[in-house]
Amino acid sequence: MIQNRAPEPISRIVTKYGLIGSLIALYVSALGMVESFSLRPVVGDFLTLGYVILAAGPVGAGILTARALRDRTSRRSAIGASFGAGAVSSSLLLVLLVVIVIFVIRPDEAGAEVTLQVMFVNLNSGLAEILTFGLGNLLGALMLILFCTIMGGAGGAAVLVRDPLRAGLVTGVILTILVGIFSDTVSQVLQQVSGRVIINIVFVQKSLRPIPAVLVFALGFSMAYFRVPRRSKARWQQVPDTRQKSAKRGFFIAGLLLLIMLPWLTGLFLSQALFLIGLYIIMGLGLNIVVGYAGLLDLGYVAFFAFGAYAMGILTTTSELGITNLTFWSALPICVAAGVLWGLLLGFPVLRLRGDYLAIVTLGFGEIVRILALSDWLGPIQGGPQGILHIPNPVIFGVTLNTPQTMYYVVLLGVILAAFVTIRLRDARLGRQWMSMREDEDVSEAMGINLVSTKLLAFAIGAGFSALAGAILAARQSTIFPHSFNLIISINVLAGIIVGGLGSIPGVIVGMVILVGLPELLREFTEYRFLMYGILLIVVMLVRPEGFLPEATRKRELHSDEPGMAPAEAAPLESVGAGGQE
């Protein structure tokens, strides 16, 4: 296999990466992402999110080419090559344009029945118009080539330009695009703080005005360009222990205050998103115990979420399905206990299974629960396909918590409770047993760990968290339907904790903010949400299997050749929470 191959000729590298970029651009266009994202402007009315997505292909081609050539040729010819790769990446888009013009637009005009749009629903004249920048076919095609070439060069520049300038440019561009994309969010926060005046200066109809856009870019640029080289970590370690502790406490309290203020800073709509994120964080923390600590891949986690929601429904509803008419607060512990019990019951039969068999069986359990919930057989108990209606909202001190802003606090309490329990368990004997079991079951058993009880406890505690989330959801929505509890929720939670970093509590939070929060903020994304999940799962597994904010030990395992990884480095939040007993 080992042979001295001549280095690939530059023209081949340019063609290869150009075609990869071209495929990406073709993919996002043919899937309709370019068209539906172009409804959201980013800067002014000329730069839309659609073009940002379209640029991903050429920019990627430029970056890959520049990386491949960085150490081989001069800077100038490498940048030239990335311009070339950008130009190549327009090729398949041009083919797509020709196809649209010939097979989609012409037959419509001629009144013929067969158009390609019957099959590929997103190939329509709207897409062609976006791809040609509204300039007509010939001029537009030239413009498209120019656009791709420039974007390829920009991608190359993002790799090759020398550093303070490079960091400044990249940060500036990313910051501008982010502010533009999240203009809704930014303006809602601004409105809570300062009223409408600033918003009208900065934004025009969800889009950054050009001059503020330049200012935002300048802000991002200077932030990165003039950044003092960071030595804060070394300096932090020189601070005496007692001061460290009180500073940590200060940060902790400030963070808590911020969390409490959050729904009033962000307004009604974002509070609903915060509520959902919190709900998923609770579930993520639970699944993190099962998958991240104990290493048991559970794909049927939604079952416990459903148990929690149905338990809350049956215990508190005022419709004829209700059996006790308890209040939310008195029913909550019962729901959690029911979840734990079900976790034990469902955990028992799968004790002897490992790895992918376990994954498939738990997935089967999840589906069985959903099908049973949908069937008429259990209808007299839990409402069958009609679900349970009239579940009362929680009441505290005579105040009914029926808005997203007030329910946020219930979820916040749940998150804090779940995080506390997780941290304490992780550092306790049980947590060490879980992690030992994750590494090697046979050795753990030989070391005297009781696998049966350890596994069952992992299932049961994870199930309890999930049931807690389900119960809160039932009380918030007042109605529950079996259709809400499908496999996608399990995958959602799993994707969140994997993207964030298995086994890491800040990772769970970050993962859920990314996977649950972003689609809530970007309504255009919702149609492509699961596509993104799928691609994200693959990419994260290929590029960064430990996730964004990995647990320290796992990071060390996967990068054992990099010395000097301090355990506390990746886990600022954990060390705040666990600071007391270390």
Partner: protein
């Protein structure tokens, strides 16, 4: 003797055994109740069995893809159902175009052949791309990692199909040449079902012959025994793996067309998920890794799924038992994996392997 019994006694085994006995008793009770109630005639049972066989042969073709890949890579190719979906969903457009232009009525066999070609090519391309992008870079990763990419790939493929082809339900045209029934053993069986069963069985036998007799089949078996030694013997392991995925894709594409003939409606981007899971059940039932096991497991699962809800659940007095059909298949999967993970034909896997 008694002491040794108590030393080896395990509560987990005991409770699992009780659970097993309880399920068997429930099945027997349901069976006796249904038969003694005499609610269905023999002809009705025969209809259920043949429909089950036809459905089962579709499961079997998909299951072969699972079992081939598992045999070689020890990987559950979770996205295999989506490979099947892509072939079926792409071909639906060709089929409808042919039906509109009248080509289907003039040359029904030719046009069905063209469906097979298109579905086979599309599914094969998807399967090979899947291997290249999502699995090959992770050949030596911990086993959880490729399983997670497989789940990701499953979602990515589903929603890619949705983005390309839209979210609508589509249906295959009815083929007049396959309408009507023929009489087998005195029962009237729809021609479509007979064609599907016979064609699927021919494909399965062909595959078994391919794996047993040809040089590529031999190298496939060799790679599934030991990749490193195979490499030393001069086998191009990557090529064999690609061929394996391609064969799995081809069979899944054929299954997609059979499904379109047998059950024309409900062709959409999510159609591959449940058949994929059930085909996996079938592969496990037959013993994952075993080619004849997957074929027989698929047929068996089809019959069980079609007959058992009426035969057992109704006997137990459960209303609208057919709603629980899917739950039945999954319950069976759970029970096999718990009580006989090696399946009917499977080798007993060492615990580490399983």
């Amino acid at each position: 003797m008694l002491r040794r019994f108590f030393e080896r006694f395990s509560w987990v085994d005991f409770i699992l055994r009780l659970f097993q006995i309880g399920i068997i008793i429930a099945m027997i009770v349901g069976l006796i109740n249904t038969i003694s109630a005499g609610r269905y005639t023999n002809a009705q049972w025969a209809t259920l069995v043949f429909a089950g066989l036809a459905q089962g042969s579709i499961y079997a073709l998909i299951a072969l893809g699972y079992t081939l890949v598992y045999g070689i890579l020890r990987l559950i190719n979770f996205a295999h159902g989506e490979v099947y979906m892509f072939g079926a969903l792409t071909t639906v457009f060709l089929a409808n175009a042919q039906a509109r232009s009248g080509f289907l009525d003039e040359h029904p066999w030719l046009s069905i052949l063209s469906w097979f070609l298109l579905a086979g090519v599309v599914s094969t391309v998807i399967a090979v791309l899947l291997e290249r992008i999502a699995y090959r870079p992770l050949r030596n990763a911990p086993r959880l990692v490729p399983l997670i990419t497989a789940i990701g790939a499953s979602f990515a493929l589903q929603y890619t199909a949705r983005g390309l082809y839209g979210a609508e339900f589509r249906s295959y045209p009815t083929v007049d040449a396959l309408a009507g029934t023929i009489s087998i053993l005195g029962f009237n069986v729809p021609v479509v079902q007979v064609v599907v069963i016979v064609a699927a069985v021919i494909l399965m036998i062909g595959l078994i012959g391919f794996v047993d007799r040809t040089k590529i089949g031999t190298s496939m078996r060799s790679v599934s025994e030991d990749k490193d030694v195979s490499r030393l013997m001069g086998i191009d392991v990557d090529k064999v793996i690609v061929i394996t995925f391609a064969i799995g894709g081809l069979l899944a594409g054929a299954a997609g067309v059979f499904n379109g003939l047998f059950r024309p409606v409900g062709v959409f981007f999510f159609m591959g998920f449940f058949p994929g899971l059930k085909a996996f059940t079938a592969a496990v039932l037959g013993g994952i890794g075993s080619v004849p096991g997957a074929a027989i497991g698929g047929l068996l699962l089809g019959i069980v799924e079609s007959v058992f809800p009426n035969l057992i659940l109704e006997g137990l007095g459960i209303p609208s038992a057919n709603q629980l059909r899917d739950a039945f298949a999954f319950t069976m999967l759970v029970l096999i994996l718990i009580f006989r993970p090696q399946g009917i034909f499977g080798e007993k896997l060492a615990e580490k392997k399983a």
